[in-house]
């Protein structure tokens, strides 16, 4: 790992920004710098899995990555124009629930990975999920909630998506607090994640598979 990824893992914003600036000054490819920073995020995720890092460290790592991206984005645009995103995720907290911390962490980390995230916010009715799916055509739809009472709302949202004929157009994932403790058959999603890092891995794998299929690699 280089200084940039080391700085991300150390959660050291000063070191990361210095490494980014030094890399740019030395004429390094800005996209290579982004990739190196993402390598750091992978290690951060592993440390979360191992119980060494917690949600606050995930949040801090994403904040530092975003600060680095603020430096890198103008240079990338100048050199490459608009860079296409890896995929698109529609995300929101289901109706009746306004908890959004986990959703926001997932959103930040997905954006760090180059995924476009359409955030519907909190207390999102099923018909809004359906309507925005139709408009945005996401690869994945993520539904977040903390409360047990939100499980029926997740079910209702998934049923509405399927009733609208879009159940196969995107993968459906639920997460947040209670969601990972409930059997998948209860909610009807493709996956129920117990934490943010698991959700991000599953979404990333789906998007990667989708890209490979789209490009004929598989």
């Amino acid at each position: 790992m280089g200084k940039l990824s080391d700085g991300i893992v150390a959660l050291d914003k000063t070191r990361v920004l210095a490494a980014v600036q030094a890399g740019l000054d030395a004429g390094q490819d800005p996209l290579a710098l982004v990739d190196e920073a993402r390598d750091g995020l992978v290690v951060v995720g592993e440390k979360y899995d191992q119980g060494e890092f917690f949600l606050m460290e995930l949040m801090r790592a994403a904040q530092i990555f975003q600060a680095a991206a603020t430096l890198l984005t103008p240079v990338i645009r100048e050199k490459y124009g608009e860079v296409s995103t890896k995929g698109k995720v529609l995300i929101g907290t289901v109706a009746g629930d306004i908890h959004d911390l986990g959703k926001n962490v997932v959103k930040m980390l997905l954006e760090c990975q180059g995924v476009e995230v359409v955030d519907l916010g909190v207390d999102v009715p099923a018909d809004v999920f359906v309507e925005r799916m139709r408009e945005t055509r996401p690869d994945v739809v993520g539904m977040s909630a903390l409360l047990t009472a939100s499980i029926p709302q997740m079910q209702a949202t998934i049923e509405a998506i399927k009733a609208a004929g879009m159940g196969r157009s995107a993968k459906l994932i639920v997460g947040g607090g209670i969601a990972g403790e409930v059997a998948l058959s209860e909610v009807g999603a493709d996956h129920a994640a117990t934490d943010a890092i698991e959700g991000i891995r599953v979404i990333s794998d789906w998007i990667e598979s989708s890209r490979k299929m789209g490009s004929g690699d598989e």
Binding site: L11, K13, G51, F53, F54, L55, M56, E57, M59, R60, Q63, A95, G96, D97, I98, H99, D100, L101, N104, D123, L146, L147, T148, A149, I151, P152, Q153, A156, I178, E181, V182, A183, E186, D195
Partner: protein, 389 residues
Amino acid sequence: MSETMTCYERVDAAWNLREADRVPVAPMVIYIIPYLAGLSFKDMLEDPERLAQAAIDHCDLIGDFVHPVLTMLDHQAILPNATWDQVSIHWRISDHFPPQGNIPSALFNKDMIGDYDDIFDRGFATVLFNKKVGEAVFRRDVEEWLRYGFEYSKSYWRAWHRFVRETGKSLQMGARAAVPFDALISYRTFELVTEDVVERPDRVKEFCERFGKYEIFRAMDRCMIAGAGKVPGAEKIFLGNGMGAPPYVSPGVFNEFVFPYVKTQVDIAVNRGFKVHCHFDGDLTSLLDTLSHLADGLPRGRVMLDFEKTDMRKAKDILGDRICIFGNVPSSMLVYGSVEEVDKYCRRLIEDCAAGGGFILGSECEVPWDSKPENVRAVIDAAKRHGTY
């Protein structure tokens, strides 16, 4: 078996690390009571007699004491002198329960702290009565403020004292207080506190120092209104911590920004004759050694730890000879599990934690309003069936 102790004696024995006639039990029932009684949120919050009557009518779900969070509803949102709740909880009081209505949810999640200078210069009124909160509590006229500030508390506790007389169950709270770091997350947002602990830790610590004391002194004042010294249980302060623990923050953050200020709050209250019920959400298994010092220097039986996801067996091993522990049947099991699953889980908890006293059987956090009532009753029955000493 025949029960030989009153509910209060049973709970008191557990706090004092003594075996009672059986394991005391108290699932954390809150909204399920008014829900089953057909009350609206408005009814529940604005009419203490009807709420207490609902608890009397459904006292088969309550166990040995009415959970502090049910009796703390007078602190939530409708009182001018409420603190943590009115800004940390997004209040959407309605006439219905979900799916037609909503229940209040944490977090409020707007920054009301700014650079910290203003609250350090002018005090917490800048936060507690901040118009950014924008909830109904700030749209009350003077008469309503006076009523809720002075009359309502008295009528509220009159209603709960009636509950004690009619059911024989005990109250276990006179007031609540917030752990300051947890309150800061509510006032400042998790995202900004994440920056603050790295970029301006001294400001965070100063906030915790000041706000922790403010909260605990306010809570002691509220306990006196509830009848502390006259009504058993009203001397207890419910000290809640939601996000100041793993998985939200690391043990390092807990040890530096949470525990020292909790210890100060506990010491202040206990040294003045109050008792502290620490309700700590999250998984504190990795912090049990730290928590074993929570009662250092204090008389036995003044502090209790109420756990959500913490490993109770390890908690018993580490805290068993020092602090009473309380918990922790999973909320999801109460909604989606069966009576048999609940009974099996409770039996294991009793086997792991009950020996020698110092254990109260309960739920991991709130009993969801949509729990199966038979599952809640199964928790209470398990204490009677498996918890005899």
